[in-house]
């Protein structure tokens, strides 16, 4: 429960950074925080106290296995996160090339 609440707190920190920061790079860092928090939450879902790593050997284990599936899913999620962060940084660099600023307040051509 503590882990879940802690991860959710970290998600909120990430959202706070995304919503309030004016610097494009800090927004990207906010996304990274939020992503890692969700990955942490996901990885802890499969955790069991006193269990061993889920590797099948000839000797039967004395304890339970931890759930291996969330670990595999988190690996996938990390790879996806790498891709999105890369695209976002590419956007940040191109924006800096065109406008010479990282300040999103100066990017106001479009009104939504």
């Amino acid at each position: 429960m503590v882990v879940v609440l802690g991860s959710l707190l970290l998600v909120l920190v990430g959202i706070y950074a995304i919503l309030t920061k004016k610097n494009v790079m800090k927004i990207v860092i906010g996304f990274a925080l939020m992503e890692y928090a969700i990955n942490l939450l996901f990885a802890m879902v499969g955790f069991k106290k006193g269990a061993v790593a889920p590797i099948i050997t000839s000797i039967p284990p004395k304890h339970n296995f931890v759930d291996p599936l969330p670990q595999a899913l988190v690996l996938t999620a990390i790879v996806i996160g790498l891709g999105t962060t890369a695209v976002m940084l590419a956007f940040a660099l191109r924006i800096y090339d065109k406008t010479k600023t990282f300040d999103i307040d100066k990017l106001r051509r479009l009104k939504g």
Binding site: I18, F42, T76, A77, V87, M88, I95, R109
Partner: protein, 495 residues
């Protein structure tokens, strides 16, 4: 038919892999490979659409349903797959001429194919985490495509779109994490069985809220719409046609309806509150975006606001929740995909010749570009619901649904904003195509005109055979949704 199912994902992914390699050999290979891929997917999805009896479950890697990932092609999936393939093929034909304006053609075709692999995957997957992976493949390539021009407008719109879209994706991932923590399974059928016996505690509603937020942001329903009027106009025209035509429907509407109806097993009978929220989202989108479109000056921005408004019709159709409303919503998916795809292609045709998007500065293009002008006229008539085009029948079914549910106010809003749709689309027709002061230029190249004319013919033909289309394709798809949790028995029983 069963071994053919993975081809829906494999062909576009394979094309995306081959295009960057072979385009080094000869530049035109990228267009040829993409063309072969889109034509074969269109053929394959047509074959599935006409021959699918009930549904197919394909276990990926041989692992059966609750344990491995499954691809599920049922009547609903195959309907969406066909719509994607159709719009992809036609906007692809359009892109071959249109993309001459940009450098780096192979990058465009690679991203375009990747986006379609993701969309196809979302439509046929039966696994929640797999849905997230495909959703991210489609989203990431769409962010890059919106910023494809690398001008200031494209970059700003792309970054904005990316921030909003990624928040939605991460919330969906958070929802999936909670689902896995509660039920230790990711198969959608298995989850729906577990949910049926679960108590409705705080986690249940939290997860549901995360999913509704995430998928409504992807589909740009009213309070979550603000990225769409920037992102869709900034993209190249064929991409706008795909983004507005099918992207927001497959990532937003299809995933949302699948999760609400089949995974959570909700219907108007057992959860009227949730359906009223959906109805409210739809109505607010219709009203707000319809009024906002009236005061825009940018050709593509008007069409983008119109997309939000029409998405509102579709969500409201699901919110009405009886068979007529759902048939109307699905038929509107088809009619709006073809109609809005066509209108964005005409905007591309105008931009291709004149480099101008401000409608106040344009006049008399209908004389110089008769094919584009008449295509726009017919697309406009269909979108605003004039018979005998398909757009009339989709709105008719929505109206019948609202009246049968005794929601007369909703029906009145549907009719009034159909007229508003006509009003803002007529502004473009008036300013751009009718007045007669004009300097010399000619209509667009053959392939661009060809894809627009095919769409006009499809709008007309599907309108004339609407009863056949409704009976054969749309009603079975709506029944899949209304079967609710019985979906789970179909999948786990292997159909």
């Amino acid at each position: 038919m069963k071994p053919l199912v993975p081809l829906f994902v494999v062909i576009p992914l394979g094309a995306a892999f081959l295009i960057p390699i072979l385009s080094k050999v000869w530049r035109r290979f990228s267009e040829i490979i993409g063309g072969i891929a889109s034509a074969s997917i269109l053929f394959l999805s047509g074959y599935f659409l006409f021959n699918l009896r009930s549904g197919i479950v394909y276990p990926v890697g041989g692992w059966l349903a609750p344990f491995g990932i499954v691809f599920v092609v049922d009547k609903l999936s195959v309907f969406f797959v066909f719509v994607i393939a159709l719009i992809w093929f036609l906007s692809y034909l359009f892109a071959i001429n249109y993309m001459d304006r940009y450098t780096g053609g192979w990058k465009f075709y690679t991203l375009f194919s990747l986006m379609h692999a993701g969309m196809m995957g979302v439509a046929i997957t039966g696994d929640l985490f797999n849905l997230f992976v495909f959703l991210e493949i489609a989203s990431v390539s769409s962010y890059a495509l919106v910023g494809f021009s690398v001008e200031e407008e494209g970059l700003e719109a792309g970054f904005k779109y990316m921030v909003m879209g990624e928040i939605a994706s991460l919330f969906i991932l958070l929802g999936i994490a909670f689902v896995y923590a509660s039920f230790s399974t990711l198969n959608m059928a298995d989850i729906s069985l577990s949910l049926a016996s679960a108590t409705k505690n705080a986690v249940y509603y939290f997860v549901f809220a995360l999913f509704v937020f995430g998928f409504s942001l992807k589909s740009a329903a009213f309070p979550f719409h603000s990225w769409l009027p920037d992102a869709h106009p900034a993209a190249p025209a064929p991409v706008s046609a795909v983004l507005s035509g099918v992207f927001i429907k497959i990532l937003g509407i299809y995933s949302l309806s699948r999760i609400v109806f089949n995974v959570f097993g909700l219907s108007r009978a057992n959860a009227p509150g949730i359906f009223n929220i959906l109805l409210l989202l739809g109505i607010l989108s219709i009203i707000f975006a319809g009024l906002a479109a009236l005061v825009q000056r940018d050709y593509k921005r008007i069409l983008a606001y119109s997309s939000i408004s029409q998405i509102g019709y579709i969500i409201a159709g699901f919110g009405i929740g009886n068979i007529w409303g759902i048939i109307g919503a699905l038929l509107h998916v088809l009619s709006h995909a073809m109609g809005k795809g066509l209108l964005f292609l005409t905007s591309g045709s105008v931009v291709y010749r004149t480099e101008e998007r401000d409608i106040e500065k344009m006049a008399g293009f209908g004389v110089r570009m008769p094919w584009t002008g008449y295509s726009y006229l017919f697309g406009m008539l269909s979108l605003s619901g004039i018979p005998p085009f398909i757009g009339f029948f989709s709105k008719l079914f929505l109206l019948i649904g609202a009246v049968k549910q005794s929601m007369y106010g909703v029906a009145v809003i549907f009719v009034i904003f159909s007229a508003v749709t006509f009003a803002y689309l007529l502004r473009i027709e008036n300013k751009v195509f009718w007045e007669k002061t004009v300097k010399g230029f000619s209509d667009s190249p053959f392939l661009m005109v060809f894809s627009m004319v095919i769409l006009v013919l499809l709008l007309l033909v599907s309108g004339l055979c609407f009863s056949h289309i409704t009976k054969e394709f749309v009603k079975p798809a709506a029944e899949v949704l209304l079967r609710g949790v019985l979906y789970a028995k179909d999948i786990l029983g292997g159909i």
